[in-house]
C-alpha cells in the first residue's frame, strides 16, 4: 500500500507547509483555517475509532465534542472570573492551562462515552444510530436550558488558554500546538489499529459471532472503542473551543455530529489518515463553495451524495485503492 503511505505524507506535509507559508506571506487567516482543519481532523479520528474500526455508526459524537468544549469553557470561565468551580466538598479552581484542560476534556469525553456507550451498545444497527442521536439531543437541550454557563449564548473566553513556553494567541504557535496533538493522536491511532485490540475490534466489526467463538465478548471491545473514541473527540472539542475562544450548545447539535461523520466518509472510513484528508477537503469545500453562492449547501449536498454513491471509500478509496491495509 505504497500509495496510501505517500498520500499520508503528502497530506501531513501540506497541512504543515500551508501555515508556514502563510506565516511568511502574512496571511494569518490561512493559518486559522488550517488550524480548524487540523482540529476537526482530530474529531474525525475520534469518530473513526468507533465508526471505522468498530463499525459503530454513532450519530451522537457532537455530545463528546461539545463536552470537551464545555470542559474548556467552564474551567477557563472560572479562571478568568477568579471564582472557584466548586467549594464543597473540596475546592476546585478553574484553570487556563491547556494541558490540564485537555486532560479534563479527555476524561469527560471518555466518561460520557462510557455511560452512553454502555446503554446504547445494548442495541445495534439502526437502533444504535438513533439512540446515539437522541442522547446527543439530550445534551444539546440540557446545555441550552442550563443557565449557569450561558445557555444558548454560550461562553466567551477573552484570551486563549496558555501552554507553557508558548504565546497561544499567535496563530502560528497555536497551530503548532494543534498540529503536534494531531501527530500524537495519529500515531496513537495507528498503533492501536495494529495492536491486538485493533485486530480483535476489526473482527468484531466484521463478524461478532467469530469473536465470541474465540472466547471474547464483542460488547467489551465495542465499549472500549467507543470510550476511546469519545476521549479523542472530547480533546478535539477542547481545542476547537480554544480556537474560537468560545463554546456554545451549537457544538452539541446533531448537525455537528453529521459533519464529523462527513469528514470520516469524505476521507475514507477505517483509514487512520482518512479523517485528516476528509476534514481538510471539507474546509476547502466550505470555503470555496461558500464564496460561489448563497445556496452553497446544495452543492455540498450534491458532492456528498456523489461520494457516497459513486466514490465509496472516499478520497483514500479513489487514490489508494479500495482495500484497507491491515498489516
Amino acid at each position: 500500500m505504497k500509495r496510501e503511505t505517500l498520500l499520508n505524507a503528502a497530506i501531513l506535509l501540506l497541512l504543515l507547509a500551508l501555515p508556514l507559508w502563510a506565516s511568511v506571506a502574512d496571511e494569518p487567516f490561512l493559518i486559522t483555517l488550517t488550524t480548524r482543519a487540523v482540529i476537526l481532523a482530530i474529531a474525525g479520528i475520534g469518530l473513526n475509532f468507533a465508526l471505522g474500526f468498530g463499525g459503530l455508526v454513532s450519530l451522537g459524537h457532537a455530545a463528546f465534542f461539545g463536552l470537551g468544549g464545555y470542559a474548556m469553557g467552564i474551567l477557563a470561565f472560572h479562571a478568568q472570573n477568579y471564582t472557584p468551580m466548586m467549594e464543597w466538598p473540596l475546592l476546585i479552581e478553574g484553570t487556563k492551562s491547556m494541558p490540564v484542560i485537555w486532560l479534563v476534556a479527555i476524561v469527560t469525553g471518555a466518561l460520557a462515552a462510557l455511560v452512553i456507550g454502555a446503554l446504547s451498545l445494548r442495541t445495534a444497527g439502526v437502533y444504535f444510530i438513533m439512540i446515539t442521536l437522541a442522547f446527543g439531543q439530550m445534551f444539546y437541550y440540557f446545555a441550552i436550558s442550563w443557565p449557569a454557563y450561558g445557555g444558548e449564548d454560550g461562553l466567551s473566553i477573552y484570551v486563549r488558554n496558555s501552554f507553557p513556553g508558548l504565546n497561544t494567541m499567535d496563530p502560528i504557535q497555536f497551530f503548532a500546538v494543534c498540529y503536534a496533538v494531531l501527530l500524537i493522536v495519529l500515531f496513537g491511532t495507528w498503533r492501536a489499529a495494529r495492536s491486538p485490540f485493533g485486530l480483535m475490534l476489526g473482527a468484531a466489526r466484521q463478524n461478532p459471532d467469530r469473536v465470541q467463538a474465540v472466547g471474547q465478548v464483542p460488547y467489551r471491545l465495542y465499549l472500549t472503542a467507543f470510550t476511546i473514541s469519545g476521549a479523542i473527540t472530547g480533546l478535539a472539542g477542547a481545542l476547537f473551543a480554544d480556537l474560537n475562544r468560545f463554546v456554545s450548545p451549537s457544538m452539541l447539535s446533531w448537525q455537528t455530529s453529521g459533519e464529523i461523520m462527513v469528514f470520516v466518509i469524505l476521507g475514507g472510513v477505517g483509514r487512520v489518515f482518512g479523517p485528516v484528508a476528509g476534514a481538510a477537503l471539507f474546509i476547502l469545500l466550505e470555503h470555496t463553495l461558500g464564496g460561489l453562492s448563497e445556496f452553497w449547501h446544495i452543492y455540498l449536498g450534491a458532492i456528498l451524495l456523489g461520494v457516497v454513491l459513486f466514490a465509496k471509500g472516499g478520497l483514500y478509496g479513489l487514490i489508494a485503492g479500495r482495500e484497507v491495509a491491515h498489516d
Binding site: P196, L199, M200, G202, A203, R210, A213, V214, Q216, H326
Partner: protein, 249 residues
C-alpha cells in the same frame, strides 16, 4: 472407559408448542468422533446452540471439561476450550488468512486489551496461528485475503481457527456443506487426524463422510435421539432406516 469431555444431560427446549429438543442425552469421549445426524428440521442447530452457548435450555444441563457450563456465555465456553465451527463461514472476510487464525490464538491466549505493540510482531501468536494453518494445509495461503479463498479453503480455515483455541473438544456444524467430492475428501483427512487432538461432535449431512469418520453416531428426529451406537448399529437399526435413511435413499 474415560469420563466424557462433553456431557449433555436431558436438555429440552420448546418454541411455542414445538419441542425442538426433547430430553436429549449426548456425550463425547476423548479420542472419538461422534456424529449427529438427522433430517432437516430435526433440531440439530438448536441443539448445537445450546451446547456451544447462545441459547439456554428450558431444562437439563451441559457439562464440559468437568463443570456445568449451562449458564455460561458462548465466549466463556470457548475460553474453556469448546471450539466451534459454523455452518455458514464466520470469518473476518477483510482479514488475511493468517490474521483470522491469529484471532483464535489471541482470543484463547488473552491480552486483547493491549493497544500499543503491533500484533503482527507477537511471534508467539504468529507461530501458533501458522502451526494451525499448516495442520489444515493452508500454510501457503497465509497472506491471502480471506475473501479470496475458495469455499473449501474457508472451511479449512474455520477448522484452523478452532485449532488455535487449543480445544478440549470440537463442535462442528456441517463442515462438509457445499464442498465438492475432492474438498470433502481432503477435509475428511484433516478431521480424521484431528480426533487424536480433541474429540469432535460432528453434525453432518454428508453420509459418506459420516460413515468414514464416525466412531459413534446419534440420530436426531423431531428433537429426540432415536438411536445411538456404532456405525454398524445405526446402519442396521430398523427405526433409523424407517425414519431417516429410508427417506434419504
Amino acid at each position: 472407559m474415560t469420563d466424557p469431555v462433553l456431557d449433555v444431560r436431558g436438555i429440552s427446549k420448546s418454541f411455542g408448542g414445538l419441542k425442538a429438543s426433547d430430553a436429549i442425552d449426548l456425550d463425547l469421549r476423548p479420542g472419538e468422533i461422534h456424529a449427529l445426524i438427522g433430517p432437516n428440521g430435526a433440531g440439530k442447530s438448536t441443539l448445537i446452540a445450546q451446547i456451544a452457548g447462545g441459547l439456554a435450555p428450558d431444562s437439563g444441563a451441559v457439562h464440559f471439561a468437568g463443570r456445568d457450563v449451562t449458564a455460561l456465555s458462548t465466549a466463556a465456553r470457548a475460553r474453556l476450550g469448546l471450539a466451534r465451527t459454523f455452518q455458514i463461514s464466520m470469518l473476518a472476510m477483510e482479514y488475511t488468512v493468517l490474521q483470522n487464525a491469529m484471532l483464535g490464538a489471541l482470543g484463547h491466549r488473552g491480552g486483547v486489551f493491549r493497544f500499543v505493540r503491533s500484533v503482527m510482531r507477537d511471534h508467539d501468536l504468529v507461530a501458533r496461528a501458522e502451526a494451525a494453518l499448516e495442520q489444515v494445509g493452508l500454510q501457503d495461503f497465509r497472506a491471502f485475503r480471506t475473501a479470496e479463498l475458495s469455499h473449501g479453503q474457508r472451511r479449512q480455515l474455520e477448522v484452523a481457527v478452532a485449532l488455535t483455541l487449543d480445544p478440549k473438544a470440537f463442535v462442528m456444524d456441517e463442515p462438509m456443506a457445499g464442498l465438492g467430492a475432492e474438498g470433502s475428501q481432503q477435509l475428511v483427512g484433516v478431521l480424521d487426524r484431528l480426533r487424536q487432538q480433541a474429540p469432535i461432535l460432528l453434525v453432518e449431512h454428508d453420509m459418506d463422510a459420516v460413515f468414514a469418520l464416525a466412531d459413534r453416531i446419534s440420530v436426531l428426529v423431531y428433537g429426540r435421539i432415536i438411536a445411538s451406537g456404532t456405525v454398524e448399529d445405526i446402519r442396521n437399526d430398523p427405526e433409523v432406516r424407517r425414519a431417516y435413511l429410508g427417506e434419504e435413499a
